[in-house]
C-alpha cells in the first residue's frame, strides 16, 4: 500500500480568509464549536471510564473492597498533590487569611465542577457546613464507587488547604448525599462539621451520608436545572465567578482535557493493586482489552449510530472505508488537544502518528485501551474486513502509530 494522503481539505484550508474561529474540524471541513467539542471529549472520556470501571469490577468484584481502595487511593493522591500545589491554588481561589478550617476546600470543588462542565450551584458555604448541588455530571455513567472516590479527593484537598490556615476547631466531613451516578436528579455534596453536627464514625468509602443536616438541604426542582457551566451562560456574562471573586473565562473548561474519571481514580487504584499483588497485570490487560473491543463494537453496531456519525463528521456520500474511522479519531484527538500527524489517508489505509503521552492521561494502559476501543469501533463503523492496530516498529517511544486498513486475522 502506498502511504499517500488522498484528496482532502488541508489542515490550514481557509486560514486567514474566515476570521479565526475556535473549533475542531473534521477531515471534510465540518466545524464543531469549542463548546460542543469540550462536551464531546468530556462524555467520550466518561464512556471510556465506564468501561474501565467495568473491568475493575470484574477484577475486584466486592463493592465495599473496591470502593474503599478507590477512596483511599484518591485521598492519598490528592493529598500529595495539594501538599505541593495547594498554597498556589488557595491564592487563585482568593482564600482569605481570616478563614480557618477545611470548609474553604469547598471552593476548589466548586471551581473544579464548573471547569469539568458539571454545572450547578453553591447552596451553603460556611465554617461548619457547605453544600453544592450539580445538575450535570458527564461521569454519571461510570459507577457509584467512583462518586465515592471523587468525594474523598475533595476531602483531601480541603484537609490540606486547612493546614495552610490558622487552626480551627471545626473539621468538615464531605459526603455525597445524592449522586447522578445513582439515579438522583442532582449530585449533592454536603460537608458538615463533626464538632457541631456529631454523627457515628464510618469507613472512608461510606462517604455517601446520611448527614445530620438533611433538613437544611436546598433542592432545586428539575424545571429550574441548568445545562451549562457559567462560562457558557449569558446570565453569567460567560464568566465563572465564585463567592470569593475568582473569575475565569471559557478556557477554564479545557480542564476536561486534563483528566477523566478513569485516569484520575480507577487506573491509579488498579496500578496500586497490581503493585501489591492483589491483581495480576497480565489478566488485567486481558480484561481491559476484551471489554474495550466489545465496547467499541457496540458503539456503532446499529445502523443509525453510524448514520449519525457520518452526518456529524460531514462525510461525503460514497465514502465507506477506514477514513470514517480516521475522521472519528481525529475529532477526538483535536478535542482532547492531542497532537497527531497524518501519514496516510486514502480509501485503502489511514495512518496516524499520535502523541502517546497526551493520549495516556499519565497511564499507558489508557493508550492500550484506546487502541482496543478503536479496533472494536472499526469493525462496526466500517465493516469486519477492516481493522485497526498499533505499528510499533520504527515508531519512537513517545509516539503511537496506528493503522486502519483491511486485515485478515484468524485469531481475532
Amino acid at each position: 500500500m502506498s502511504k499517500k494522503i488522498d484528496e482532502r481539505l488541508p489542515k490550514n484550508s481557509g486560514q486567514g480568509v474566515v476570521t479565526e474561529y475556535p473549533a475542531i474540524r473534521s477531515p471534510w471541513g465540518k466545524l464543531v464549536s469549542f463548546q460542543e467539542a469540550m462536551h464531546y471529549v468530556s462524555r467520550y472520556d466518561a464512556v471510556m471510564s465506564a468501561v474501565v470501571m467495568q473491568a475493575f469490577r470484574i477484577l475486584l468484584p466486592d463493592y465495599e473492597q473496591r470502593a474503599q481502595k478507590m477512596c483511599v487511593s484518591a485521598y492519598n493522591r490528592l493529598e500529595q498533590i495539594q501538599k505541593m500545589y495547594g498554597k498556589y491554588s488557595m491564592v487563585e481561589h482568593n482564600v482569605h487569611p481570616f478563614c480557618r478550617g477545611n470548609f474553604v476546600g469547598a471552593l476548589t470543588g466548586d471551581s473544579g465542577d464548573d471547569a469539568l462542565l458539571m454545572c450547578g450551584r453553591v447552596q451553603d458555604f460556611g465554617t461548619y457546613r457547605a453544600e453544592k448541588e450539580l445538575d450535570v455530571c458527564d461521569w454519571d455513567i461510570v459507577g457509584s464507587d467512583l462518586c465515592r472516590a471523587t468525594t474523598q479527593s475533595l476531602q483531601a484537598c480541603a484537609d490540606v488547604w486547612a493546614t495552610n490556615l490558622r487552626p480551627s476547631k471545626s473539621h468538615l466531613e464531605y459526603h455525597m448525599v445524592e449522586a447522578k451516578g445513582c439515579g438522583d436528579l442532582h449530585c449533592r455534596i454536603v460537608a458538615e462539621s463533626r464538632e457541631k453536627y456529631p454523627m457515628p464514625p464510618h469507613q472512608q468509602w461510606e462517604c455517601f451520608g446520611p448527614v445530620a443536616t438533611a433538613e437544611q438541604i436546598k433542592f432545586t426542582p428539575e424545571e429550574e436545572c441548568i445545562k451549562e457551566s457559567m462560562v457558557f451562560r449569558e446570565e453569567c456574562d460567560y464568566t465563572f465567578a465564585n463567592g470569593t471573586n475568582w473569575e475565569r473565562d471559557s478556557s477554564s473548561v479545557a480542564m476536561v482535557r486534563m483528566t477523566n474519571a478513569a485516569s484520575g481514580y480507577i487506573f491509579p487504584t488498579m496500578m496500586e493493586l497490581i503493585q501489591d499483588g492483589t491483581l495480576d497485570e497480565k489478566f488485567t490487560d486481558h480484561v481491559l482489552h476484551c471489554l474495550f473491543e466489545a465496547a467499541g463494537k457496540a458503539a456503532f453496531g446499529e445502523a443509525y449510530a453510524k448514520k449519525g456519525l457520518l452526518q456529524w463528521l460531514g462525510v461525503p456520500a460514497g465514502i465507506d472505508d477506514g477514513r470514517i474511522m480516521g475522521g472519528h479519531i481525529e475529532m477526538y484527538l483535536q478535542a482532547l488537544g492531542c497532537e497527531y500527524e497524518i501519514e496516510a489517508f486514502n480509501e485503502k489505509e489511514v495512518i496516524y502518528v499520535i502523541d502517546r503521552k497526551a493520549l495516556s492521561f499519565g497511564f499507558d494502559k489508557f493508550v492500550t485501551a484506546h487502541v482496543s476501543y478503536w479496533y472494536g469501533m472499526t469493525k462496526t463503523l466500517v465493516n469486519a474486513q477492516w481493522s485497526l492496530w498499533e505499528e510499533s516498529q520504527d515508531t519512537p517511544a513517545d509516539k503511537l502509530r496506528i493503522k486502519i486498513a483491511k486485515k485478515i486475522d484468524k485469531f481475532c
Partner: protein, 339 residues
C-alpha cells in the same frame, strides 16, 4: 417547597452574631496587608484610589475604592498612613493589587511589598469592646478616634490598635499582632472576654455576611463589575485629583448611573433565593415580566428577624417601600443600612 433557613434556627450562629450586637465578640480577621513606602508613596496611592490619600494624617486611615480604566471597582480597601511615607493597605486581593501596582508604578519613587505573613489581626467588636480592650492594653484607648491606628501593648506584646471594623458597631477595634504571637493573643482575648460575656465569632458567615450586611457594608463580591456611583460609594471621591478610572467615572456621572444597589427585606424566613455571594449570577428579579436586576446577596438579620439582602437593579425602576416578587416571595425595598 420548604427550605429551612440556615441562620434562623442555628443557635451557634445566632449567639455569635448577637454577642457582637449586645456585648462583645472577637475573632481572627486577618486581611492581606501591602506596605507602601517611598517619597512618592502618597502620590502613587492618590493615583490608584478614588479618595484622597495624600491628605491623610499620620495614624489615620480611609476606606476607598480602586477602579480600572472603565471605572469598574476592582477593589475596596482601607489605607492607613503609618508615617509620612509609609502606608498600609488592607485588602483581600493582594496578588491582584500588586500586579496593578506594577502596571502603574512608572517613575514613582515607591516600593511595595506583601507583608501579610507578618501580622494577624483580631477584631474586637461590640458595645463592650472598648471596656474589654482597656483591661488589656498598656495605653488607655478612651481617646482613640474612629478610623485611627496607634501603637500599643498587650501583655508585653507590641500591637497596633485600629479603631474600626466590619460590623457597624460604634465600639469596634482591630488588633494587629505579630503573627508568631497569634496563639498567645487568642488566649488573652479568650480569658479577658469571660468578664464581658464575650464570645469568639467562629462562623465565616457571621463575620463576612450577616454582621456587615446588617450595617450595609459590601464584601468584595458585591462590588464586582459595578462602579462607585451605582453602589453609593461616591461620597468622598476627590474629583480634583487624577485617579485611574476618573475619566470614565466622570462620563457616568454626567449621564447618571444605569443601575443602583438597593436593600430589600423578606419576612418569610424559610425560603431559598440564590445570591451572588455564593458565586454565580444570583436570582433574577422581574418587574412586569422584565428582568430589572439580580440578587447580589441574601442573608438573615438576627436583629430584624427577617431575611435581608441587596439587589443591583436598573436605576429608577424600584423605590423605597415597593413590594416586589423575588422567586415567588414577597420582598420590600428598604433603605440601607438595615439597622
Amino acid at each position: 417547597m420548604y427550605y429551612q433557613n440556615i441562620y434562623k434556627y442555628d443557635d451557634m450562629k445566632r449567639s455569635e452574631h448577637m454577642a457582637v450586637r449586645q456585648n462583645v465578640g472577637w475573632y481572627l480577621w486577618t486581611h492581606q496587608l501591602i506596605e507602601v513606602t517611598g517619597n512618592d508613596a502618597a502620590a502613587f496611592l492618590d493615583l490608584l484610589f478614588t479618595k484622597p490619600i495624600g491628605t491623610l494624617k499620620i495614624g489615620k486611615e480611609r476606606y476607598t475604592t480602586m477602579l480600572d480604566e472603565q471605572a469598574e471597582i476592582i477593589d475596596d480597601v482601607v489605607v492607613f498612613r503609618l508615617a509620612e511615607n509609609t502606608f498600609w493597605i488592607s485588602t483581600l486581593f493582594a496578588p491582584y493589587m500588586l500586579n496593578w501596582m506594577n502596571m502603574h508604578k512608572g517613575d514613582f519613587q515607591v516600593a511595595y511589598q506583601d507583608i501579610t505573613e507578618k501580622y494577624h489581626m483580631y477584631a474586637v467588636q461590640g458595645p463592650l469592646a472598648k471596656d474589654m480592650l482597656n483591661k488589656l492594653v498598656k495605653n488607655n484607648i478612651d481617646e482613640q478616634k474612629f478610623f485611627s491606628i496607634a501603637d500599643n501593648e498587650i501583655n508585653n506584646i507590641p500591637v497596633k490598635i485600629n479603631r474600626a471594623g466590619f460590623t457597624g458597631e460604634k465600639w469596634g477595634y482591630e488588633i494587629y499582632v505579630p503573627a508568631e504571637q497569634a496563639d498567645a493573643m487568642e488566649e488573652i482575648l479568650r480569658t479577658a472576654g469571660a468578664e464581658f460575656n464575650a464570645k469568639e465569632v467562629t462562623e465565616f458567615q457571621i463575620m463576612a455576611w450577616t454582621l456587615p450586611t446588617e450595617a450595609g457594608f459590601y464584601y468584595m463580591r458585591d462590588l464586582r463589575h459595578t462602579n462607585p456611583l451605582e453602589v453609593g460609594l461616591e461620597k468622598g471621591i476627590d474629583w480634583e485629583k487624577d485617579f485611574i478610572g476618573k475619566e470614565a467615572l466622570l462620563k457616568i456621572k454626567e449621564t447618571g448611573p444605569q443601575r443602583e444597589m438597593l436593600g430589600f427585606t423578606i419576612d418569610e424566613a424559610d425560603i431559598f433565593i440564590k445570591g451572588r455571594h455564593y458565586g454565580g449570577p444570583g436570582e433574577a428579579v422581574y418587574v412586569n415580566d422584565e428582568e430589572i436586576g439580580r440578587v447580589y446577596k441574601i442573608v438573615y438579620s438576627y436583629v430584624l428577624e427577617k431575611n435581608i439582602g441587596y439587589i443591583l437593579a436598573k436605576k429608577g425602576v424600584l423605590n423605597i417601600g415597593d413590594h416586589i416578587d423575588i422567586h415567588g416571595h414577597e420582598a420590600v425595598i428598604v433603605e440601607k443600612p438595615f439597622i
